[in-house]
């Protein structure tokens, strides 16, 4: 079981949710697709990609809900042959988050939704008002490091930048 969270107040409620709902994995993400926290087993799944796709799916279903029903869908359930997904929004004082829950036949949609409501309550209570984090102090030579790293990524020995 892996638990990782960018913001500490998310970690415990998310882990409790995964344990109690008997989910395989829960990812909490920003609507822009950035991963905020994860609890559970990712196996071979790339978390960044899963979050990008979850954000896209959530955005699409929200827009679809507005067209069809006049308001965004609050949750989305997908039942695959082995795994199921539940995608829903959590509104807190700290901002809006999307939660992607992956579960299998150890759990059920009803169980996941029941404990998801608990997760929403816990996070709503725990969320700080407008959390502030300091900007990372990048060193004066960060541009040189950036150049070197990008040159290595592109298999280049020397970096020559030419403006148009």
């Amino acid at each position: 079981m892996k638990i990782a969270a960018v913001e500490a107040w998310i970690a415990a409620p998310l882990q409790r949710y995964v344990d109690e709902a008997r989910a395989r994995l829960a990812l909490l993400l920003h609507p822009s697709g950035q991963a905020i926290a994860q609890a559970g087993f990712t196996r071979r799944m790339d978390v960044m990609t899963a979050c990008a796709l979850a954000a896209a799916s959530h955005a699409t279903s929200s827009e679809l809900g507005k067209y069809v029903d006049g308001k965004p869908f609050r949750g989305l359930h997908y039942a695959g042959p082995e795994k199921q997904l539940y995608l829903a929004t959590i509104e807190t004082r700290a901002g809006t988050y999307i939660c992607l829950t992956v579960f299998d036949d150890e759990s059920s949609l009803g169980l996941v939704r029941m404990y998801f409501d608990d997760l929403v309550r816990e996070l709503t209570t725990a969320a700080p008002v407008a959390p502030e984090t300091p900007a990372p102090a990048l060193t004066a030579d960060f541009e040189a490091e950036l150049n070197k790293n990008l040159a290595m990524l592109f298999g280049r020995g020397e970096v020559i930048i030419t403006n148009a």
């Binding site: 990782a4 960018v6 913001e7 500490a8 920003h30 609507p31 822009s32 697709g33 950035q34 991963a35 905020i36 790339d46 960044m48 990609t49 990008a52 796709l53 896209a56 955005a59 699409t60 827009e63 901002g95 959390p131 502030e132 984090t133 300091p134 900007a135 990372p136 102090a137 990048l138 060193t139 960060f142 541009e143 490091e145 950036l146 150049n147 790293n149 990008l150 290595m152 990524l153 592109f154 298999g155 280049r156 970096v159 930048i161 030419t162 403006n163 148009a164």
Partner: protein, 204 residues
């Protein structure tokens, strides 16, 4: 919205490649994907139509390695350029830390470039982002085409670069200009982040 994880000293930034349809946004990502070693990139995801036009977005996660002691990751997205995908562009643009505007240098595409740049500013403003403050780099793509078919870099600059942002000519299919564009937007985004001014909702 740049994400800064102080616990494991990790920075994640979102870069969106924007521009008119068929200007070469996906080609930029394909070229980058082809150049970067496997251990430094994630899977490239393309949500495309049957004719390979981008339907929702392309997505490529990149690991830039250690910068100032932070493991630095960039998430590259493209938007669909066709006019009728306006809603999708807005969704993908959400939380962007920087934008690469990929313009098509062909003379007959100038009006599409201008309209797409206007569309970008409109969409940023709609999301409460000050368009002039968002890190932006212009790329004048397809500069490998015969000179009689394309505008020069100076002509493209006159038409599009009223902010005086970094600009590069490119041939995204074969690589020239792709690396320079990515380097420039990465530098702008990291400088802005370091100054404590995330383009989106604020660093976490």
């Amino acid at each position: 919205m740049s994400l800064v994880n102080y616990a494991n000293r990790e920075i994640t930034c979102k870069i969106v490649y924007y521009g008119p349809g068929r200007s070469g946004k996906t080609s930029n990502l394909h070229y980058i994907y082809g150049q970067v070693p496997d251990e430094r990139k994630g899977k490239m995801v393309s949500l495309a139509t049957q004719t390979d036009r981008t339907l929702f977005f392309d997505f490529l996660p990149l690991d830039l390695g250690q910068i100032s002691g932070f493991s630095t990751k960039f998430q590259l997205y493209t938007v669909p350029g066709q006019v009728y995908y306006q809603t999708t562009r807005k969704l993908v643009l959400q939380g962007a830390d920087g934008v690469v505007f990929v313009a098509d240098s062909q003379k007959r595409q100038l009006q599409e470039n201008i309209e797409s740049l206007q569309d970008l500013h409109h969409n940023l403003a709609e999301q409460g982002m000050e368009a002039r403050a968002v890190p932006l780099v212009l790329q004048y793509n397809k500069h490998d085409l015969p000179s009689e078919l394309i505008h020069s870099a100076a002509e493209m600059s006159d038409a599009l670069n009223f902010r005086g942002v970094p600009e590069f000519t490119a041939d995204a299919l074969h690589g020239p200009g792709v690396f320079e564009t990515l380097r420039a937007i990465a530098e702008l985004v990291l400088k802005r982040l370091s100054a404590g001014q995330s383009a989106g909702a604020g660093a976490r």
